[in-house]
């Protein structure tokens, strides 16, 4: 069973995402403190991380967390959740996803359409299992 780590400072939202993903047969964990993400992954390595971009202490903390994940754990897939799209200052688009600048495989805009989220999670895990059949 794939294990997904949801990192979002909004506990209500994270728990809703967790409920839906558990309903899809995934095992989930929730982390509301972005700064503890790497530590949390060390304790139990997930198959993918669902990561919010904005945290109260920093507009782009999610970017930093994604980079830390990349540096520490290599190609562990990260799916970003964002309330701001490219039309805002400091917002971003698919073109900004980049191994060094923004190491994430995809993103989903809030409010989340769970059908879209589940489909993207499924795609990510399929790609990961075909790339790393042993893992």
């Amino acid at each position: 069973m794939a294990y997904l780590l949801i990192v979002d400072d909004d506990e209500d939202f994270a728990s809703a995402v967790s409920t839906v993903l558990r309903g899809q047969g995934y095992e989930t964990g929730i982390e509301t403190d972005g700064a503890r993400t790497v530590e949390r992954i060390r304790v139990r390595r997930p198959d993918a991380v669902i990561l919010d971009v904005m945290f109260p202490e920093n507009d782009k903390a999610g970017f930093e967390i994604a980079r830390s994940i990349r540096r520490t754990f290599g190609e562990l897939p990260v799916l970003l959740l964002t309330a701001v799209n490219q039309s805002f200052p400091l917002g971003f688009s698919r073109n900004d996803l980049d191994p060094t600048w923004l190491p994430a495989v995809d993103f989903v805009e809030k409010p989340v359409d769970f059908a879209v989220l589940c489909s993207k999670v499924s795609d990510i895990l399929t790609r990961r299992s075909s790339a790393h059949p042993a893992g």
Binding site: D12, A16, V17, V20, A83, V84, F88, K110, P111
Partner: protein, 491 residues
């Protein structure tokens, strides 16, 4: 977008061109701080241009001297063509050297360093040449000494008060040296008017000569005082404006960050409510009574509407705040953006059985990518929202023969009555019928289109007929062109 009326008279096609407002792509100047060094380099380039004029004037003088001494003698004029030729040659050499050096110093900082180092050399050489010209034209009893005023005024405009005073005193020093050399006989006196038997410097009493010098010095210093004061006032205001601009830029950055936080703070709670409503609807918490399903669906729908509204309001506020300093456009293929927007819009369209007919050819244009996404997104979203279930929306793009691109979005939906077309780009404008057809409309989509189109000089032409549909034609400019009123592609 407004809903069509039912009368047959109302169903004729009506066209409307969105008037572009604000600054155009041509007169948009990026706000950037220019360093003193760069201004100095630019000013020295201008001095070079002025020096070419001086060289031309001296060359003409040499020609006049040659003509008057060989072809057409002028009895009162004694003009040896040798000295204006020599002066023109020195200035020519100075200009060519400067141009050669600036060409070799390709980078901005090296040019600035060169400009700083050569500035005073250029000023002193110019003054020395001018003193030579004054000497040959006649240092006394002519207006030649007042030519120093050109240099003094230029120095006041481009240099600080102290530096322009140094230039003024240098000019006076050179003039005084010229008079002293002539009076002592170290340099033979010269004047183009010598044929009129006017007294030369060594014939004039020292007191009169001193008075002559003092008069020139007094006029020069007065001009320096007035011009430098005016110039320093202007410069101070320029610096104040620059400081204000810096503060505005800092405030814009702060506001952008604040806006991002606001968006997050406003949208995050609705995202949580929406997520929980979806959990209830998808049965993760057990099955709901049918009455409760309706209520929860309403909660979810209103959450989505509110989130879209918040996004649109903040987008519009952000675009308006960018109006004075819009992002720079780049050359891009609009058809690629249209393709991406269509892909994003397809799930929403498919839910209502609406199909996109795509005819996308490469369409290079000068535009801001994010703005193009906003325009296309809003127009496609409207086309889907105001179509009837199962209808088709036709989207095409193509390059224009003269440069730029056209994108056409045609729906066969409810259309817009003619009298309401000019208002569809207003903030929050929705007719009752349009609101009834699409309850989730924010009324801001086309206001966003208006703002982005104006910022990028993108022509927006709308044709619509109630109950028959609407055609939006977007005319993206090629570099250096501004286009209005492009007819819709009805093909």
């Amino acid at each position: 977008m407004a809903l069509a009326g039912g009368a047959s008279d109302d169903s004729a096609w009506t066209a409307y061109d969105l008037p572009l407002e604000g600054r155009t792509a041509e007169d948009r100047v990026p706000v950037s701080a220019q360093s003193d060094e760069l201004i100095l380099v630019r000013n020295l380039a201008w001095f070079c241009s002025l020096r070419w004029l001086a060289i031309a004037a001296l060359a003409l003088l040499a020609l006049l001297g040659w003509v008057s001494s060989t072809l057409i003698p002028i009895p009162w004029l004694h003009l040896d063509p040798a000295w204006p030729s020599l002066a023109a040659g020195v200035l020519l050499l100075l200009n060519l050297t400067w141009i050669l050096l600036t060409r070799r110093a390709s980078r901005g900082e090296r040019r600035a360093l060169l400009a700083r180092r050569s500035l005073w050399l250029q000023i002193l050489l110019d003054l020395a040449v001018l003193t030579g010209v004054v000497h040959f034209l006649g240092s006394v009893l002519t207006f030649a000494p007042f030519m120093y005023l050109f240099h003094i005024v230029l120095a006041c405009i481009f240099l600080s008060r102290i530096r322009s005073l140094v230039v003024t005193l240098s000019a006076m020093g050179m003039y005084l040296a010229c008079l002293v050399l002539e009076r002592t006989g170290a340099v033979p006196p010269s004047s183009v008017l010598s044929a009129l038997a006017l007294p030369a410097a060594h014939d004039i009493a020292p007191v009169v000569l001193a008075l002559q010098f003092l008069l020139v010095a007094f006029v020069s210093l007065t001009v320096w005082y007035l011009a430098s004061r005016l110039s320093s006032d202007l410069r101070r205001r320029d610096e104040e404006l620059f400081a204000i601009n810096r503060r505005l830029e800092a405030a814009t950055e702060e506001r952008a960050s604040h806006m991002l936080q606001t968006t997050h703070q406003l949208k995050a709670p609705f995202a949580a409510i929406h997520a929980n409503a979806q959990i209830l609807l998808t049965g993760h918490c057990g099955s709901l009574p049918s009455a409760a399903v309706g209520v929860v669906e309403q909660i979810a729908t209103r959450c989505e509407t509110l989130t879209r509204g918040i996004t649109a309001m903040l987008q519009l506020a952000n675009l308006r705040s960018q109006a004075q300093n819009p992002p720079s456009p780049a050359l891009l293929d609009v058809s690629e953006t249209v393709r991406a927007c269509l892909a994003a819009m397809k799930p929403q369209a498919e839910k209502r059985g609406i199909l996109f007919e795509e005819d996308l050819s490469p369409a290079p244009a000068l535009a801001v990518q994010d703005h193009v996404v906003m325009i296309i997104d809003n127009i496609l979203s409207n086309a889907v929202s105001y179509s009837l279930d199962g209808q088709h929306v036709r989207v095409s793009s193509r390059a224009k023969p003269g440069g730029g691109a056209l994108v056409v979005v045609r729906d066969c939906g409810i259309g817009i009555p003619a009298d309401k077309l000019p208002r569809i780009f207003d903030d929050y404008y929705r007719t009752t019928e349009a609101a009834r057809h699409n309850r989730g409309s924010t009324g801001l989509g086309l206001a966003i289109v208006r703002q982005t189109a104006s910022a990028g000089s993108i022509g927006v032409h709308v044709e619509s007929a109630p109950s028959r549909g609407t055609v939006f034609t977007l005319d993206f400019p090629s570099p250096g062109r501004k286009v209005h009123g492009i007819p819709a592609d009805r093909g």
